[in-house]
């Protein structure tokens, strides 16, 4: 997959082709290449002045080797990634990064694949990016996820040891996702809780948006550093705003016009899905701007609320279809309103009973004593 260069007498990376070389070799014209650079700059929110810099980087920088490993996951991240509709991305991005190991995409299998894995680590020590899809289960010594005959957690630690940086693809690697949902029997653990000594960028979502994935990779290759991250380690350019902040149905939210039932007139008119449990107001992602499948649509546009798939522990936040969701802390399934109303009801009833007893006591005292002054 990568050119077999001589690693003696110089840094291995100098032996690798540049992105531009690969693109030209694949028959992409310079004109298309420049278009790609300007679209990438636009996608990353950079000024037009950055286009020559991107082009220069792509022409001169060696391709960065990427090892892409899969733990407990469903491969939806890969499925999303290969559908990147960004111009040229589906043809180019896979070539422009030197994807030296990806057990689901590579031609090699079995021992040949594992050999490529070891070879890449040995050859580009400290220079490759480790992309992790899925997460390692830690229970029973990691036996719930075996790849290449070994627990995945061992493979992850091995690959992470010499990595330059780690990308946590999707909700699994970033937060744990469905396999880490309560009670999490396999003790599936997000990457940043297993690997603590490497820079980690989280690209959450189930799956993340294809253009977000390619955008993050492009940024890292172009500028040779991680993009600006938020408090949680997500790239701020894609996870800086909530779905709600850029939702095209937001005017209906502010107007107080909501879908009340899935089959009502308001649903047909495209009103706000807040009452149907839309998690857009608590979800940071680029769905309402970048959208999905070549910008065709995103869940809310299709008439379904956001389920908050790019937020931590989204499976454990109760129903996708309620705003005020159930709490599990009280041992019963009840939401904040039920718990609160029950508690307030008890308080109210107690107050009423107490008031009645107080009145009776006062009356009793009055009859027992001749003058109220003595007891006052």
């Amino acid at each position: 997959m990568h050119p077999k260069g001589d690693i003696e007498g110089g840094p291995a990376v100098s032996q690798i082709e540049t992105f531009y070389d690969v693109m030209r070799r694949q028959g992409i014209t310079r004109r298309s290449f420049m278009k790609y650079c300007s679209l990438t700059a636009a996608a990353l929110g950079l000024s037009p002045a950055m286009v020559p810099r991107i082009a220069h980087a792509m022409e001169t920088k060696p391709r960065t080797p990427v090892i892409w490993v899969h733990g407990l996951e469903c491969t939806c991240c890969s499925e999303s990634f290969i559908r990147s509709a960004h111009p040229l991305a589906k043809d180019v991005v896979l070539s422009m990064i030197s994807l030296d190991y990806d057990d689901t995409l590579m031609a090699a299998a079995g021992h040949a694949a594992e050999a490529a894995f070891e070879e890449t680590i040995a050859k580009y020590r400290g220079n490759y990016i480790l992309a992790v899809e899925g997460n390692p289960p830690l229970n029973e010594d990691g036996m719930f996820c075996i790849t290449g005959g070994k627990p995945f957690v061992e493979k992850l630690r091995h690959a992470a040891k010499d990595a330059k940086a780690i990308i946590s693809w999707g909700a699994c690697a970033s937060y744990g996702c469905v396999q880490a949902a309560k009670p999490n029997p396999t003790q599936a653990t997000p990457v940043h809780k297993v690997i603590t000594d490497k820079p980690i960028i989280k690209v959450p979502g189930c799956p993340p948006i294809a253009e977000v994935m390619t955008g993050v990779i492009t940024y890292m290759l172009t500028f040779d550093r991680l993009p600006e991250l938020d408090r949680q380690g997500r790239p701020a350019m894609f996870y800086g705003q909530r779905i709600h902040d850029k939702c095209y149905r937001r005017p209906h939210f502010d107007a107080g016009q909501f879908v009340e039932a899935w089959d009502d007139e308001n649903a047909r008119k495209g009103y706000c899905l807040y009452k149907m449990g839309c998690k857009g107001p608590t979800t940071y992602n680029a769905c309402s701007t970048v959208r999905w499948n070549e910008g065709v649509s995103f869940p809310i546009q299709s008439g379904h609320g956001c389920i908050g798939c790019s937020e931590d522990g989204f499976w454990d936040q109760g129903s996708f279809y309620n705003r005020v969701t159930d709490l599990t802390q009280f041992g019963v399934e009840a939401n904040a309103d039920k718990v609160g109303m029950a508690a307030a009801g008890v308080a109210g009833a107690a107050v009423a009973v107490h008031a009645a007893v107080s009145a009776l006591k006062a009356a009793q005292k009055k009859t027992q004593t001749q003058t109220s002054k003595e007891e006052a």
Partner: protein, 245 residues
């Protein structure tokens, strides 16, 4: 004692039997009373609008969305009242430092003092109808003080912190407010939805306080040996008898 002695014009013998030399103490200074009532109003607005933010009222068709801002106004009222609550609370903290010592009761609870706890349990027994008469206090009695601390000092602080954190999300992650309160989300499992849930539960915590507070204030006004409700209006505590404990 007669009409001329007592200075009361319409007393008869039975009235005179209950007359005592009433004492009064100025306890709640103007800033405390002002804060109390502004706070009460703000909390009322916050509870009603907050409940609607969690469970919006039925959809309305007044105009095109461009000209209709119903839910926007509900949220605006919530945020405005929230800021009043938050700034009022800061003012209250200021007055706890510079006001009289009664103003400090909400922030200084002597839980390490045995005598204080004995008085708490005395009040508990009074409410369980196990004591014949309550004790007299110029400020809050220890049980009231404990309740105020848990419900108001801690409760309102919690609501202000979680509320400002949620509000900062609307301002954006670059906002100064998010820089100040972004840690709240880390504390609550990195998911803003959890913060919404606890903020919602906090509302019920305050509602329970309101129920108990109003009942107890009225009950004490009638049954205790001192004024309660009027004290928060005039600032003066009056006592109904001159008896020692």
């Amino acid at each position: 004692m007669s009409t001329s002695e007592s200075g009361l014009h319409d007393v008869d013998e039975s009235d005179l039997a209950t007359v005592s030399r009433q004492t009064s103490v100025y306890v709640y200074e103007v800033p405390v009373r002002l804060w109390h009532w502004i706070n009460a109003l703000a909390i009322m607005v916050l509870c009603v609008t907050g409940y609607f933010i969690g469970s919006p009222p039925p959809s309305m068709q007044i105009a095109e969305p461009t000209h209709q801002f119903v839910f926007g106004y509900i949220r605006f009222a919530h945020f405005a009242a929230g800021w009043i609550l938050a700034i009022g609370f800061l003012g209250r903290v200021y007055w706890a430092i510079f006001g009289n010592h009664h103003a400090r009761q909400l922030f200084y609870v002597p839980i390490w003092r045995g005598s204080w706890w004995r008085e708490v349990f005395f009040e508990v027994r009074w409410y369980l109808f196990l004591e014949r008469a309550p004790k007299k206090y110029v400020g809050h009695n220890p049980l009231a003080q404990l309740a105020m601390f848990c419900f108001i000092t801690l409760g309102v602080s919690f609501m202000i912190v979680t509320g400002l954190a949620l509000y900062s999300e609307g301002l954006g992650k670059e906002s100064g407010l998010y820089a100040l309160f972004g840690w709240v989300f880390t504390l609550f499992g990195n998911n803003p939805h959890i913060v919404h849930t606890y903020h919602h539960l906090g509302m019920w915590w305050i509602v329970i306080f309101m129920i108990i507070h109003i009942y107890v204030a009225i009950r004490e006004d009638i049954m205790s040996r001192q004024s309660i409700v009027s004290t928060m209006i005039s600032g003066t505590r009056t006592f109904k008898d001159d008896l020692p404990d």
